[in-house]
Each structure stands twice: as structure tokens, then as C-alpha cells.
Subunit: 352 residues, 2 copies
């Protein structure tokens, strides 16, 4: 079956580009003796998790327990959950999961420690804990090396929990600054930092310059997208994931409507100044996806010399591929134009 035979709108993944992306970041990590622990939030596929591990990754990163469960159920045995897991239900699920895979959890507060301690009572083995710290993401994380050390000491009072080190997102110059204070502080307190985990595709190839990390979590690099191109982290030829859409209407000379709207492409936009619209059109570089309704994409073709016709297929590189895969029940893997697999996105919607 050829890509041209697929009904649209449809997500397709170029297997060769994805494999090259996986290999390139692994080579970088190997060169700098950084352990690679890919974040699977982008592909949400056991298939690519196993590909990444075969290429040399030490395990995977997930954001949610439901993602960890699906990955453990499909044979992944080393999983870092970078999320505060609160409540008795999650503690019980986490404990069960330790029977199937080695689980680490990154947290940033005492309440999370208490729930992990509860989980550890039923767990098969100790649960490894990292502490998340703030390094400019303004999301979560402890705010100072001193707060990190205090939390580490609390973790060490629980017999079933094993403090392993620190984690941040994204890796930035601020990560380096934090660590230059934290490392001597922890050393002086005789609290070992076995793991320092950094993250993010945009800065992936600069981690060795930014901060003394031992482990890299990156997700988007497997597919790349228009945001990664805007960040200078990928070229068009590194983008493995495409939405194939069809022009369903040409109501005016300047407007083409495609069958891909916000339920296919998401409403994620680039940062101001990085580019307009809801996706990149490699075949129509002068056109802009000006607006999305749920199932309609409104393309402004006023600047395009050649205008697309009704029935024509159009390729779209998404702005932010991680949220786009999460809209689709399956992706088609292709080599050249031949379809080689229909992969169920089995972690799709696993937000809990």
C-alpha cells in the first residue's frame, strides 16, 4: 500500500527519518558519555520506545503513570516518571508497576514523598527518587539547592525510597548555575548525586556545554516539527511526521479549505515572531494555514503562484507534533512512499 492510497486526514511517519533522528542523538550522547532516556510523550508508541532502547537508550521517560503502565505492558523495563504522583490510587498503581519494571519518579514536594513512601511498602523493590529543580522553565521544581537537599534528607528517612539525584526541565544555563551550587552542597552533606537528569530537544545537542548532566531526556527529536525547526534544532528533512490532508473546497481564489482542522493539527502555535499559522506547507511555501476550525483548515493561498485544486493532497508539518500524535488513534509508518505498518498510538489519551 502506498501513502497516496490512505484516506485523509492521516498522520504518516517516515521510518527512515525517525531512525536517523534516534541514531543522531544517541551518537551525541555516546560521545559525551551522557545516558539517553528518551521521553515517549512525542510518539506514545511502544514500537519507537523499543527502537530507542535498541539504539542505546538506558530506558524511557514518561509523564503519566498510565503511560508507564502501557510501556511496561509492552516490554519496557526501565521507566522514569517525571511527575508528582499523589493519592492512594496512584500509590497502589505505582506499587503494582514495580513488579513489571524498574521505576523511578521525579518529584518536588513532601506530599509526593509521603505517597511514594506508601507505594514503597507494597512495592517489589525500592523506588528510586529524583528531585526536580527549577532552571528557568517556571513550571515546577524546588527553588534552591538548599530546598533540594532538605527534601533529599526527607526522602532518605524512608526505607523503601532511594534518593538518586536531581532532575530539571529544560536544560539551560540556569541549570548549570543551580548545579554549581548544588553539587558542592550535596557533597558536603555526604548525599550522593548519582543521576543528574536534563531535558528537552531544543537544547539537546548543547547539554554538555550547559550543565554537568549525566542523563538526557528528550522527546520531540524522534519526529521533530515546525517548533523544532524554529528553535534551530531540526531541518525540514529531519521532520519525520506529516499530516496528509486533502483540499475539499476552493471557495474563493485566495482560499483553500483542507480536511485537517484543530482536531487533526491541534491549535498550538509558534512563539511570536517564529512563524504564523497552524503548520508548515512544504509544497506551498508561500501559503499559510491562517485559521483552523475543528475539522477545517483555512489556507491563505493569495501569495501562491500555483494554487491547489479541489481533491489535491497536501502535506502539513505540524507546529507541535507531541500534541498532534495525541489526537490520532494510529499513525502509518512509511519507507519511501510504501506503507510498512499501521501503529496504534497505544499511549494516546493516557493523562491519568
Amino acid at each position: 500500500m502506498q501513502t497516496s492510497e490512505l484516506e485523509t486526514p492521516v498522520p504518516i511517519v517516515d521510518f527512515n527519518i525517525a531512525k536517523a533522528n534516534i541514531g543522531r542523538l544517541q551518537d551525541y550522547c555516546d560521545l559525551h558519555r551522557i545516558a539517553l532516556r528518551p521521553h515517549i510523550k512525542t510518539h506514545k508508541l511502544p514500537f519507537f520506545a523499543h527502537e530507542q532502547i535498541r539504539a542505546g537508550a538506558i530506558g524511557i521517560t514518561v509523564q503519566k503513570l498510565g503511560e508507564a503502565e502501557m510501556m511496561a505492558y509492552t516490554g519496557i523495563t526501565d521507566i522514569l516518571v517525571t511527575y508528582n504522583l499523589l493519592g492512594v490510587a496512584k500509590a497502589e498503581r505505582l506499587a503494582r508497576l514495580t513488579h513489571l519494571a524498574k521505576i523511578s519518579v521525579a518529584i518536588d514536594n513532601l506530599s509526593a514523598v509521603d505517597w511514594l513512601a506508601l507505594a514503597s511498602k507494597d512495592a517489589k523493590t525500592d523506588i528510586d527518587i529524583l528531585i526536580e529543580f527549577e532552571s528557568g522553565g517556571n513550571r515546577q521544581g524546588v527553588q534552591s539547592p538548599e530546598a533540594a537537599l532538605e527534601l533529599a534528607r526527607k526522602i532518605r528517612t524512608h526505607s523503601g525510597l532511594r534518593f538518586r539525584g536531581l532532575m530539571t526541565y529544560p536544560t539551560t544555563a540556569a541549570s548549570g548555575e543551580f548545579l554549581r551550587s548544588a553539587i558542592p552542597l550535596f557533597n558536603g552533606a555526604d548525599v550522593q548525586l548519582e543521576v543528574i537528569s536534563g531535558g528537552g530537544t531544543p537544547s539537546a545537542y548543547y547539554n554538555h556545554e550547559l550543565a554537568p548532566i549525566t542523563e538526557l531526556r528528550a522527546g520531540t527529536y524522534v519526529y521533530n516539527d515546525r517548533m523544532m525547526m524554529a528553535a534551530g534544532a531540526a531541518r525540514l528533512e529531519d521532520c519525520a511526521f506529516t499530516i496528509l490532508a486533502t483540499v475539499v473546497s476552493r471557495p474563493t481564489g485566495d482560499r483553500a479549505i483542507v480536511d485537517a482542522g484543530s482536531k487533526t493539527l491541534s491549535s498550538d502555535q509558534l512563539s511570536p515572531g517564529q512563524g504564523d499559522g497552524y503548520g508548515l506547507l512544504p509544497d506551498y511555501p508561500d501559503a499559510t494555514i491562517a485559521r483552523l476550525n475543528e475539522e477545517h483548515g483555512v489556507i491563505d493561498v493569495s501569495l501562491s503562484k500555483r494554487k491547489p485544486e479541489v481533491g489535491e493532497r497536501i502535506r502539513i508539518i505540524p507546529n507541535h507534533v507531541c500534541v498532534v500524535t495525541n489526537l490520532h488513534d494510529q499513525v502509518y509508518l512509511h519507507s519511501g512512499e510504501e506503507i510498512i505498518a499501521k501503529l496504534p498510538v497505544s499511549l494516546r489519551g493516557k493523562t491519568v
Copy 2:
């Protein structure tokens, strides 16, 4: 089971509010002798489609053939597809579907007519056709009454196709203007307009003033959301759909992190001037969901006198509920705080 026992993040639907919403619009339509044909894009649930029909709706509206199929498979027998269906695969699927339900299709171009004619050759019955016209949505639709009449004449040359009338989205003053030209033009040409279909929740209760429509397609009214509140089409107490989230971190005094990010709430925003942030927080009216990562919501609580604590549950009314339901595999129906059903969102992801 109580809503408080659900793991978060989780979408819950207040059954009584949804039923009242369904009843209120049905009453309006009955009063003005407008047929109601609800758009199921919002709930994507056979359950509520049947509720709407029991309340008096004449059938349903869907955007995609995959949605039509799932609805026909669950007992809905009158379905309007408001989409240009192109290509042999869709023609074959459409033909098959006519064996299960009465299908109408709204289209705006000749290529769509040709594919429908192909479908009609295999269909069990004639396929009813509406012509979509432009009325300010700047999406698709023929641009003039004359173009509509020309297309209607083409449709009437095909024996398996039955031209039924006109359709537009949204219903606006421009719809009225278009129709004031179109109706005499069609009458003069002896082409009957049995159906004039208007749409949209924001203007739902003004359709009788805006344009001489015979049928109303509205979707969002079943749940409502922050956009409908901003449009003056709903009050907070009319919002049936809520995301329950948990505060997982309080990294600073001014920031609370919840376990609902863009993979739970979508990135849809209100129009400029209508409101900031990624959802409404009824329990924290002075707080703003300032930023979303995929699985994190960053809430600015700097203006809140009472600040949420780690572990606390927070209710979120989504900005745009139609894309939010499409992110979730199930929704929980509740009456008061009691869970009365877990409904699989069986039309979720049916973009093809």
C-alpha cells in the same frame, strides 16, 4: 461512586445540566417551528445523540463520515454530513451507510457532486444534498445565490441525488441577506428549497430573527464552555462539562501546578479581549491558567487570597469544550456528586 473518588485529570459531565441545555434549545426550536438537528461534534457520544432525539430533534449533524458511521452503528437513523466527501473510498463508505440510515450531505463544489453521484449508484436510496453557502464564516460555501443555483441544477442532473436546499455556518445577518436573494432566485427557477439549515450555538436563540431557516444545527449548547459564556450564550450554571484536576506542586507562593495540560484542556484560547488563560476556575475566580505544557497547567494564584494546596482538587471549565472531549477516551456522567455512568467517547478521533 462519587466524583471525589475519580483519579484526575478527568472530564465529568453534569447530566442534569446537559439535559436542561438540551430541553431549552428544543423548546426554542419548537416555539419557532424550526427543526433541530444537533451537531454531535461536541459530545461525540451516541448516548447524548439519542437523548437529543428523544427530546425532539429530527436527526443529527456530523462533520465526518467516521462520525456518521459510529452513530449509525449505535442506532441513529437520520444523519446530515456537513462536509465535502471526496474520493472513491469515501463514496463507497457513504453508499454502504445508506443501508443503515437516511443520509444527507452538504457540499459546495462540483467535484463533491461527482463523488456523491458515484456513491448514489451503490446506495440503497437517493442521497439528499444541501448546498453550503458563505455567510461570513469565511470558511467554505458558494459565494453567491447564482453559484448556488448553478450547482443545484448540476445536482439535479444526477438521478440518484436529490437536491433539498441550502446550508450555512454560522447563522448571521449575512445569512439572511444571502437568503433574501436566493429564495426568489430559486423560486423563479422552479427549484424548490425544502430545507434551509443554519448553525452555531452563539446565535442559536436568535435564528428566527437572523434568517428564514427551517433547521438549526447547534453542538456546543449541550455542554457549553467558557467561549459560550464569553459570547453571552451561556451562564456558568449552564456549563455541564468540567475537568477535575489536582494541584501537584506549589513551587512558589504565586504559582500552582495542576495535572491538566494541553493534552487535557487543549491550547484553544478565547478571542482577544474575551478573557485570558486556558480555562475558567470557578473556585478561584482571581486565578488564571497562565500557561500549559502538555501535562502541566501553570496557574497564577498571585491575586488569590486563598491559595490552593498540594493535593487539592480544582474544577476547570474548558475554553472550548468540543476539542477537549476529543482528547478523552471517556467522560463520567454525574448527578449531584454521584457518578452514574462512564461513557466511552466512541466518536473521538474520527477525523476521516
